[in-house]
Amino acid sequence: MTEFTPWLSLFGGSLIGLAAVLLMAFHGRIAGMTGILSGLVPPFSTDWAWRAAFLAGAVGAPALIAGGTAYTIPFDSPTPSAWLVVGGLIVGVGVYFGSGCTSGHGVCGLARLSPRSVVATITFMTSTAITVFVIRHLIGGL
């Protein structure tokens, strides 16, 4: 069980949205983690500096909250290590060919009403739900 956190999640989601709006306003870029990260996988894209800076901020923020405040960020990864490696590979291949993930398609793309993002988001949300159902209720866990 995890605790239902509507207000905190709504607030966190709004910050994600704010970051997406600011990245467009200042850098003219979609705040999609797949796209930003892909430019940092060798061969590096020429505009790697802002990508690396964004990534450093994204990694640094939770570290700062954890180290500098009394708030504990809940974290629980129930998946066995071998499956994390398999799942990581699958996610990497999927988001590359699918041209985006939850942030790029699910937030920025949907906000622009991009037909490709609408289809991508419906597809991966459905596929994730089916996978969770199969693992938890048909197989009985990994």
Binding site: S9, G12, G13, L22, S77, C101
Partner: protein, 147 residues
Amino acid sequence: MARVLSALVIGLIFGTGIALSGMANPAKVLNFFDFAGTWDPSLGFVMGGALIVTAIGYAFVLKRKAPVFDRLFHLPTRRDLDLPLVVGSAVFGIGWGITGFCPGGAIPALGLGHGDAWLFVGSMIGGIALARIARHTMATRLTTKAA
């Protein structure tokens, strides 16, 4: 310098949002998709909040001629639906359902210092690199055949 600093600050806002919303917590993400079991609807509020702010913000920002640090907005222009988009997204969902990690949630999770997030991200970057090599190989073969 201002450009890089601005990206760092925006990254910090993004990472804070991900951390507070619960998106960096695989157990919570998996529970959102477990309608038949321990359902936690929180993720719907994350997506809802992010979407409303982005849609309203974009409407104002994209009326401007250009972003502050660039000559133009880099907006995807494709509107066609193709097989890689659909199959790739379906494949992504399988990995998301196995692990509870999506790229935007996993990167900030690195900052929490748990080995699980590092293992996932390392493997995911390997997946992106492999996919890129595969696409280039396919593209080269097609070009060679055509020639």
